[in-house]
């Protein structure tokens, strides 16, 4: 042994089992930090690359620039790439085609394709005025190969080109439904075509000449790495007399270079900073709590160190270095676990979720790993600070007894009149340390309040989730002229199709003149069928839906924050006075007018119409494609909308959000569990001698466990009560401000989330009691009873 610090690895070996929890804490903190930062980097880089693919790697596009000025800009030292790219027919179809397929025509320099856009290519870029490069989709759409001749048809004439190659341009990736063709020719050929068609190719962006062409011209500039982009842009504007509108910034690359004042990018950086602080705090709390527990259990050891002459500073250094020693194992383990998790997550997001997560390709994140190591070490050092001080402050005499709290005076006795003695003692142990009780209660209350706020947030998101709203079904058919012209029989026919879960129909009379509470106005009169009324039951906010049945003058209304009709209000349509019997928060209607929902019988009496304006069909997950085709053919000329793919993508995104939200919540709950576990553990360690005596005079292990449980329950009950009060207040505030204002409804006590969080807290208590109870079970009574 070179110094007393050589004891650290020896001690770590002998205390391997006891150190397991601390190691797990550090691994978890490192895992969390690395995962969050790796995912953030992968997401940001993936999105940035995706955006760059879609929008280009240039920083600015300059319009109205002369050839000479362009040459000077390209020669600048702070410019890494610059190229012309002009387009025709990007936004407005002006009759350019190849083989009757619409063409978007680009006149570009090779640098634009190779460097600025970095499109994957097959073959070569046009080397002369007679060559053309098409997008890869054109191969199939036009049935052409490199070397084939194609005729570009323009309203002013036809131009013949040889296909020099293909490129996977933004249109291919941006929209899989893109059915047109994009074609790239040299800038010279572009000028030739523009001259022939009479367009002014030197015009500014979005100039349409005589309604003949939608032409954009631009000089794309990418600055060199390290260039002061803001200064460079100002310089270009000044030097070439460019107006603000002439320089269009590419927010993606500018943001990535940190040069954009764009709010979205700034918000992302802010979010990352918040996550950083949250994880750092959580990590410090977790590890500190574990280390405190460890110090409490090893009071005797630290006391012995002090007895044999170790100074306070030496004990502190010992605890800090011991914590850092754990990092040797824990940090690599956390990093490996994180990389494995991130890899699995990227596969799931890419292949199972898809949609906006398509760009989530796994990559080795240096930032993630570095922040894992860095935050791991910082967290451990910060976390070790307080336990180190605690260990150093243990008096040698008290320490040798193994009881950190020996000598702490008790101010009042436990009340054994109401509670059983073991319960009374447990409650007393919790309540006696006021500061600890407050901290533990706050910790629980924080979890409870956060859970309730999250549940309010989720109920807001659920309103937007298509799968949660059966009135936004997978398939819908709307009458082409917005009239009630869909045959009622169609609904019955669709209901029996295989894979159809539900079918409903409604008739609508938009803007029906009516007197609302005696005031002239207009309403949207809507008929619901039985299925729709059944569905509406869950969103009733006031009144009685059962009254809206058969041929009745009672109607229902959908909450509308502008009109705010209530039960008992009257709506007179023609000579018939209808009474609002029920208000629902969700349903079909427009924002602009009050929606009055009546039965089909009432609708027939009021309007004389029997057919539907809209049909909705809910499909089972395994519904056969033939069913969809049958419905499509039944729809005929009417508007047929298939939302399956869109719904799937939105649902996937919502699920990812849910998992992330609940994952975050799980971390908070886990910290609470760690806190309570360690507090109970510390409390038990501090009273080990006392517990030994209790066992000796006849307290059973079960009674002992109940005593520890009573202590945990005291913390939990105080925390729950505080959490209920704060959480319900915040839940109500969020629901009223964010949900009910927009969707209607009234606040009710959220029993479901309350039950869930109460169960979580109860489980935390059970988990917290388990380990100390085991320690007591395994405790040798004889070791503690006669110690001083």
């Amino acid at each position: 042994m070179k110094s007393y610090l050589s004891l650290i690895p020896i001690s770590a070996k002998t205390r391997r089992k006891q150190n397991r929890l601390i190691l797990l804490c550090i691994i978890f903190a490192v895992f969390l930090v690395t995962t969050v930062f790796s995912c953030a980097e992968i997401m940001t880089k993936g999105q940035t690359e995706g955006m760059i693919r879609h929008h280009g790697s240039h920083h600015i596009v300059i319009s109205g620039l002369s050839e000479a000025a362009a040459e000077q800009i390209a020669a600048r030292e702070d410019v890494s790439a610059a190229a012309w790219c002009n387009s025709l027919g990007e936004d407005v179809y002006e009759g350019y085609s190849i083989n009757d397929t619409r063409v978007i025509l680009y006149g570009a320099e090779q640098t634009y394709i190779d460097t600025i856009r970095d499109y994957a290519q097959e073959g070569a870029f046009p080397q002369n005025d007679t060559e053309i490069m098409l997008n890869t989709g054109a191969k199939e759409r036009l049935g052409v190969q490199a070397g084939d001749q194609v005729i570009l048809h323009l309203p002013t004439g036809d131009f013949s080109f040889t296909v020099s190659g293909f490129c996977a341009d933004e249109w291919e990736e941006y929209d899989s439904k893109f059915e047109d063709v994009s074609a790239y020719i040299s800038v010279e050929a572009f000028h030739r075509i523009c001259s022939a068609s009479g367009t002014d190719d030197n015009s500014d962006i979005d100039v349409v000449n005589d309604g003949k062409a939608d032409e954009k011209t631009g000089y794309y500039v990418r600055f060199a790495k390290g260039a002061d982009i803001k200064d460079a842009i100002s310089d270009l504007k000044l030097r070439y007399g460019l107006e603000s509108g002439a320089v269009d910034e590419n927010l993606v690359t500018m943001g990535a270079a940190g040069a954009s004042g764009n709010l979205a990018m700034q918000s992302l950086y802010l979010l990352a900073a918040i996550v950083f602080v949250l994880i750092l705090t959580a990590g410090v709390l977790m590890i500190s709590s574990c280390l405190n527990s460890m110090v409490a259990q090893r009071t005797k050891f630290f006391g012995m160190m002090r007895c044999v002459g170790a100074s306070r500073e030496q004990v502190m250094r010992f605890v800090r270095l011991e914590a850092l020693n754990w990092c040797k194992t824990a940090i690599p383990a956390g990093l490996i676990a994180s990389e494995v998790f991130t890899f699995a997550l990227s596969l799931i997001l890419q292949y199972k979720v898809g949609g906006e997560f398509d760009d989530f390709h796994y990559r080795f994140s240096v930032i993630g790993l570095a922040s894992g190591v860095l935050v791991g070490v910082i967290t451990v050092l910060l976390a070790a600070h307080s336990p180190a001080k605690r260990a150093a402050s243990v008096s040698p005499v008290a320490a040798v007894s193994g009881n950190a709290e020996t000598g702490k005076a008790v101010s009042h006795a436990a009340d054994t009149r109401i509670l059983k003695v073991e319960h009374a003692l447990g409650v007393h142990h919790a309540a006696a340390a006021k500061k600890n009780l407050v901290l533990m209660s706050l910790s629980f209350a924080f979890t409870v309040a956060l859970f309730l706020v999250f549940s309010a947030g989720l109920s807001l998101f659920n309103r937007f989730m298509p799968s949660e709203n059966d009135l936004s079904p997978e398939i819908s058919i709307a009458a082409v002229d917005s009239a009630n012209s869909l045959d009622r029989g169609m609904k019955e026919e669709m209901t029996v199709l295989p894979g159809v879960e539900s079918a409903f129909g409604c008739a609508v009379c938009y803007g029906t003149p009516a007197e609302i509470n005696g005031v002239p106005g207009s309403v949207d009169l809507i008929s619901y069928d039985d299925w729709m009324f059944q569905w509406s039951k869950r969103s009733v906010t006031s009144g009685d839906l059962h009254q809206v049945s058969g041929d009745t003058d009672h109607v229902m209304t959908i909450f509308n924050r502008d009109s705010r009709l209530n039960t008992g209000d009257t709506v007179k349509i023609g000579d018939t006075e209808l009474t609002i019997a029920c208000v629902c928060s969700e349903g079909i209607g427009t924002e602009s007018r009050p929606a009055i929902v009546c039965t089909e019988e009432t609708f027939l009496r009021l309007t004389g119409e029997t057919d539907y304006q809209m049909l909705g069909i809910g499909l089972a997950k395994d519904a056969p494609e033939e069913t969809v085709e049958t419905i499509r053919s039944m729809a005929g000329e009417n508007d047929f909308v298939d939302r399956r793919e869109e719904d799937q993508e939105i649902n996937s995104s919502f699920w990812v959000f849910r998992i992330a939200a609940y994952g975050f919540l799980a971390v908070i709950a886990l910290i609470t569990v760690f806190n309570i576990t360690n507090n109970i553990s510390m409390s038990v360690s501090a009273r080990m001698k006392q517990y030994g005596a209790m066992r000796a005079v006849g307290m059973s292990v079960a009674q002992m466990t109940r005593m520890i449980a009573a202590e945990a329950v005291t913390y939990a009950v105080c925390g729950l009560l505080l959490g209920y009060i704060v959480g319900l207040f915040l839940h109500r505030l969020f629901m009223v401000k964010l949900v009910f204002t927009h969707f209607g409804g009234s606040w009710k006590i959220p029993f479901e989330p309350l039950t869930v969080i109460t169960l979580i807290v109860a489980l935390s208590c059970a988990a917290a009691v388990r380990a100390p109870a085991r320690r007591i079970r395994e405790m040798a009574i004889t070791e503690t009873i006669n110690e001083l």
Partner: protein, 227 residues
Amino acid sequence: MKLLEVSKISKTYGSGEASVQALKNVSFSVPKGEYVAIVGESGSGKSTLLNMIGALDVPTSGKVWIDGKDTFAMQEKKLTIFRRRNIGFIFQAFNLIPELTVEQNIIFPVLLDYQKPDRAYLEELLGALNLKERRNHLPSQLSGGQQQRVAIGRALLTRPALILADEPTGNLDTRNSNEVIALLQAASKKYEQTIIMITHNRMIAQAADRVLEVSDGVLTDLGGCAE
């Protein structure tokens, strides 16, 4: 009538070359109401023997019968209840519960049984122990002697047949030591309780009905002091 019978008790700590035999084939018996003192050097095995008798520790071999019951044949739960009702412990370090008052500490074993204490007997004990004035005090508000008297009260409340005392006067001055021993002797006589006490104090040992000496784990019956 034998209240306690110890038969061929051995206790070995560790294994192989590092093993230490704390007790070697110890056998003896104690009749009801006898006051026995155990003496011996530090580390001779006295406390180990007392812990075996009180079923706080398990012997490597041998048996202990208390009131005809084989304590090591009992399940842990049953043994705990047996200990609570039949054995009273008095420790050198008092081992009172700091959160409970004098009265609560004394009735603690009864509270663990979820029973109500015999109030008359409690009052009698408090009086005998001279603790009536202090009944609502916490242990931290008492002197060492008073704390040991509370521990004696706790050991006596359930009227156990056997009281085991491990150096009960070790932390007390001479006056308090004499008081405590007098109290124990009086209880032994009055309630016909068997007392086994470890002590280093020759004077205290001399007051016992019988003295047992433990040396290197071997027990020798020194007989009655009067003899």
